[in-house]
């Protein structure tokens, strides 16, 4: 694995970016130079150091004098939390429903697959907005929205795999010697789907990160006082004339993170599942 990663330059870049963001999220309270919510109106709207600012606030300050670098660092926490738990929840829901659909077939399958159809005809932003509007702003709700908008891929994957495994003769053979369903699932189905599921999860995380940023931008993500990249961007937008960096920097943070996750996902796909690569 390490060898493959060293050979794939883009994969290496992706993994490093992801590790850096995770590191920032885990150690935000140590590495951030300021409290991200501390206001200092005497020093508001300062430019970053490379655009005429000073080293007290390397990336400048926002309209309330809060330190932008600290807010970018703390912002990574929500990004990582939502991406991580949203993906896990989506994976659990999708695997369960996909397994039930594939295993029981008939009307159970038909019902679940119709739900999948309906889900696919809902733009995820719309779904997210709708649920966020109904449930209100909270981290838990953003994670639920992330999961609801991405479980379908896992369900299809697991269902497809179960359907193909069910047809295989050796499964008949195993069953005829009295092997239990749970054993068949653990020994024969899970090993087959683990690689595509990991790839799916990584690429799905990129989507979830963009989704969380969009929700925060619209003010429908986590509570407004928690710093997030999307929120910083929408606040910064109103100060484009005095300090355009307020809108530029959080966007760069989002883009680099999503790019890193995607590059990591592409590498994982090549590494785990060479036949998927066209």
């Amino acid at each position: 694995m390490w060898k493959s990663l060293k050979e794939s330059k883009t994969g290496l870049v992706g993994v490093i970016v992801v590790l850096l963001v995770v590191f920032a999220a885990l150690t935000a309270n140590i590495i951030a130079p300021y409290d991200p919510t501390k206001q200092d109106v005497m020093n508001k709207l300062m430019n970053p150091v490379f655009a005429g600012g000073n080293f007290n606030h390397i990336l400048g300050t926002d309209q309330l004098g809060r330190d932008v670098l600290s807010r970018v660092i703390y912002g990574s926490r929500i990004t990582i939390l939502v991406a991580f738990f949203g993906t896990i929840l989506a994976g659990v829901i999708g695997t369960l429903l996909g397994a039930i659909a594939g295993y029981y077939g008939k009307w159970v399958d038909a019902v679940i697959m119709r739900i999948v159809d309906i889900q696919l005809s809902f733009p995820f932003v719309l779904l997210a907005l709708f649920v966020a509007a109904v449930l209100g702003r909270s981290l838990k709700n953003v994670i639920i929205v992330a999961a609801i908008s991405s479980w379908v891929q896992y369900a299809r994957l697991v269902r497809g795999e179960i359907l193909s495994v069910k047809e295989m003769e050796y499964i008949e053979a195993i069953r005829s010697v009295g092997s239990k369903n749970s054993r068949i699932i653990i020994r024969h189905i899970i090993p087959n789907i683990i690689s595509p599921a990991i790839v799916q999860a990584t690429l799905g995380m990129a989507r979830i990160i963009l989704m969380e940023a969009s929700l925060s931008y619209l003010g429908l993500g986590v509570p407004l006082e928690i710093p997030t990249w999307g929120r910083m961007l929408s606040d910064g937008k109103d100060f484009m004339l005095s300090n355009p960096w307020l809108a530029i920097l959080p966007g760069i943070a989002i883009t680099i993170t999503v790019l890193g996750v995607n590059l990591m996902g592409d590498w994982l796909r090549d590494y785990l599942d060479p036949k998927l690569n066209v």
Binding site: F122, P123, F130, L218, L220, L233, M240, P244, T255
Partner: protein, 307 residues
């Protein structure tokens, strides 16, 4: 399975999907909150609220309420907007043309960029051009649309003053929102077309065409691209869904007077009647577009395996 039978089956599935969507929307909105409390002033007594509930039919069983909602919806009656005090459907209908304009022009931009880019990238595989196109396409899928929109505003409207920042007054104001919204789709089409073209260019019949002495461009356009078109069609169908979703954000960034911005505003105002229509309309539009894509799919490639 014959084409007619397949399309018939897809049609029934689409209708089921539409029904499912109305059920979900209805249930979620009923959990969402008590519309009666929103209609009455805060000072309303418990008794007044109860009377109103009874009068509006909110005390009936959910299934009765749903059927009534469906019946009214079929007659085009979606209730009254709390915010504007007008029929909710009217308010939404007025905003639809702006969103359709934006969605169509974004899709045009995506196709105009995506198709040539994907073809060039596949034909010149592993060249510098290919690397540049692939990198840009990847970047296009990683940049948040709203940020791209703000950056374009900063550059073209604030710094260079070439284009208006927002609104829908002249055709030039359509340019930035469409680009913002179209970039992700353009990137997706490029990547999809590239990989399916590469796959097709490796097939035996391409070698046969070459051996026959057919020109390079004839092979690329007539043989490879024509066959790759069905995969592009699928992407277009799927992308319309994310395009309508993306419109919500793009319209908010550019203050575009479409249903996306109306949706966000209505959510903020708890104007649930309007929210309901927009969600149903968008889902409906996507189901219909996907059905049309299915038909086109069959027409482009009649031999396609139908499952």
């Amino acid at each position: 399975m014959g084409m007619a039978k397949y399309l018939g089956k897809r049609f029934i599935q689409s209708i089921i999907a539409v029904f499912g969507i109305t059920i979900i929307v209805f249930i979620v909105l009923n959990i969402a909150g008590d519309p009666v409390k929103l209609m009455l002033p805060d000072t309303a007594s418990y008794q007044e609220i109860e009377e109103m509930r009874q009068k509006m039919g909110y005390n009936d069983p959910l299934i009765v309420q749903y059927l009534r909602f469906l019946g009214n919806a079929l007659r085009g009656d979606f209730g009254t907007s709390y915010k504007y005090n007008e029929p909710a459907l009217q308010i939404v209908l007025e905003r639809i043309p702006a969103t359709v304009t934006l969605a169509v022009s974004s899709m045009m931009i995506a196709l105009v960029i995506g198709i040539p880019a994907g073809m060039i990238s596949a034909v010149k595989r592993n060249s510098i051009t290919d690397t540049v196109i692939r990198s840009l396409a990847l970047l296009g899928q990683c940049v948040p649309a709203f940020w791209l929109g703000i950056m374009m505003m900063l550059l073209f409207a604030v710094k260079l003053k070439w284009l208006p920042t927002s609104g829908f007054d002249t055709w030039s104001s359509l340019l930035m929102p469409s680009l913002t919204l179209g970039v992700f789709t353009a990137a997706t089409i490029t990547r999809m077309l590239r990989s399916s073209m590469i796959e097709i260019l490796g097939k035996e019949y391409i070698d046969v065409a070459k051996a026959k002495g057919l020109g390079r461009y004839v092979i690329i356009i007539k043989h490879a691209f024509k066959n790759a078109l069905s995969s592009v069609m699928t992407v277009i169908g799927l992308q319309f869904s994310s395009l309508l979703g993306g419109a919500v954000i793009t319209e908010t960034v550019f203050a575009w007077p479409g249903i996306g911005r109306l949706l966000v505003q209505s959510i903020e105002n708890s104007d649930f009647m309007v929210v309901e229509i927009i969600v149903i309309f968008m889902a409906f539009a996507i189901v219909i577009i996907n059905f049309i894509v299915d038909i086109l799919y069959c027409l482009i490639n009649p031999r396609i395996k139908l499952q």
